[in-house]
Symmetry: C2
Subunit: 301 residues, 2 copies
């Protein structure tokens, strides 16, 4: 079975894209086509979940060709309850059929037995006395390392068993990153350098030199990227924060040092809501925005 690192490198090369399509569906801001897909009446949860799934599949159909992966935000599906989780499964299948990888963005982290359960939930399979359950079958997940190495290990084990990957929070894109991640340790280095060291030691490189444990590094603090790359020479970086949050693709060059798949640029609002800025119908605007971002990023490597 080809490792996640190699699958990622090959998929990025084949699609000439490092763009990760963020899917954070808000029931109040869906594309018109999604509203039309929902049943006209009945259970609000069923109508909302149907519309959210239709929205995400429409976004994938419009912009997916310029992307290498989708990144569904688990919170946005969980808020719809059980039917929201079913919508997440539908969207995952649709992305796979479109040749896209799926990075389940839930930022999970917990003690060993619980981390193992999260690994089963997101990668699958789940053995039960009633038969095997598939789990979500994500290709990669995001994880929170606050609780330490023994909470990451079961997620990485589950990932490897499914040829999947894990992106660990290291230095995020939000202002609050200053509160804990940026704290100075007794040796003068920030906490995020220690998180980077954990990522570097946990990842295993594949045939293309890329590791199967990556890092979430906000595109809003490009001044840290060179140091992050020095600390994690082989880790793929998942880079949120481009577009709506203010990050610029041109500032992400150090991410691509280990190859084109070294930096994955996550964008959601700037693609899904491109029509609000650029006009036109949502699908056409999203396709153009994704292709523009793809071309800009690809020109850097």
């Amino acid at each position: 079975m080809t490792s996640f690192a190699d699958r990622l490198a090959e998929r990025v090369a084949a699609r000439s894209s490092q763009i990760v399509l963020g899917l954070d569906p808000d029931p109040g801001k869906l594309w018109p086509v999604a509203l039309e897909a929902a049943p006209a009446e009945g259970d609000p949860a069923e109508r909302a979940a149907t519309a959210v799934a239709a929205h995400c599949t429409a976004v994938i159909d419009a912009a997916g060709e310029a992307c290498v992966a989708i990144k569904p935000q688990l919170a946005c599906f969980e808020r719809l309850g059980a039917l929201g989780w079913a919508a997440l499964e539908t969207v995952t299948r649709h992305a796979h059929e479109a040749g896209l990888l799926v990075i389940a963005d839930g930022k999970r982290g917990d003690i060993d037995v619980t981390a193992k359960a999260y690994g089963q939930a997101l990668f699958g399979p789940v053995q039960t006395p009633f038969g095997e359950l598939p789990g979500l079958q994500a290709d990669a997940i995001t994880a929170n390392p606050l609780m330490g190495r023994d909470t990451l290990a079961p997620l990485v084990d589950a990932a490897r068993a499914a040829a999947g990957g894990v992106f660990v929070l290291v230095r995020t894109s939000n202002p609050g990153a200053a509160d804990v991640e940026d704290l100075r340790l007794s040796d003068g280095t920030p906490v995020w350098e220690r998180l980077a060291a954990i990522v570097a030691e946990t990842g295993e490189p594949g045939a293309h030199g890329l590791a199967d444990v990556g890092a979430v590094c906000g595109a809003t603090a490009p001044e840290h990227l060179a140091r992050l790359r020095e600390l994690m020479p082989r880790s793929p970086f998942l880079l949120p924060g481009v577009g709506a949050q203010g990050g610029r693709v041109e500032d992400l060059l150090p991410a691509f040092a280990p190859g084109p798949a070294g930096g994955l640029i996550a964008a959601s609002r700037s693609i899904v809501r491109a029509h609000e800025q650029d006009g036109g119908d949502p699908a056409t605007a999203a396709r153009a925005a994704a292709e523009s971002l793809r071309a800009t990023a690809w020109s850097l490597v």
Copy 2:
């Protein structure tokens, strides 16, 4: 609307209990009564989810009277897919009907717009163009503070709007706590002291003096409890790690300084699997184990 802090204080007093019943259902280790409740054949996910819900409701019926709350582990439901989330909703309703608070243990944490979605998912309600969705209707949640204050704020806002509470990870019960939480900062204090300061400044006290933002503090490191209480004088502590993980109730005294509800003792395996050690049928053994733990803890305050 009475705040979570006051609801918690009143509920602990009324039930003479600080015990939180941890529900981490493993489909391979369910009570026999749960296996019997599952359909004899059909979809494995439906059978597993039915059995898991039956297991949890049976555990609540057996041991709930000695407890003040349940703490369902979200990972264990998510691994069953959409029907697992439906089982979580069933278990939450059953706990409420039994007079128990529900602490949804998912250790969530994400940027503002996503944290808001998690708040909607776990506390509800969720406004959609199709009508209002209820969300899980938990009374409290656990949260991960790595990404900083601006990621906690939307969770706390959602909690307060629902008279709910948030328990923030500060110093956890697992060995890996040493990797990040225990790192020494430039002023010589560990990272967890900074997390404790964030919790202390975020919580708002109710009429009973207890705050609505609490801390997850592992019962396996009682040497830190006095300092944690000093840093967070009004925060309720959620204390996992008693029993299977090695923590002792007798060592938790500093937690109770602000009153009986200052320390909530989370126990799962030591109650749910008491029959494996003590013999007898699972329900009787669970009831006795929970009552014994309750009496020991209550005698301390």
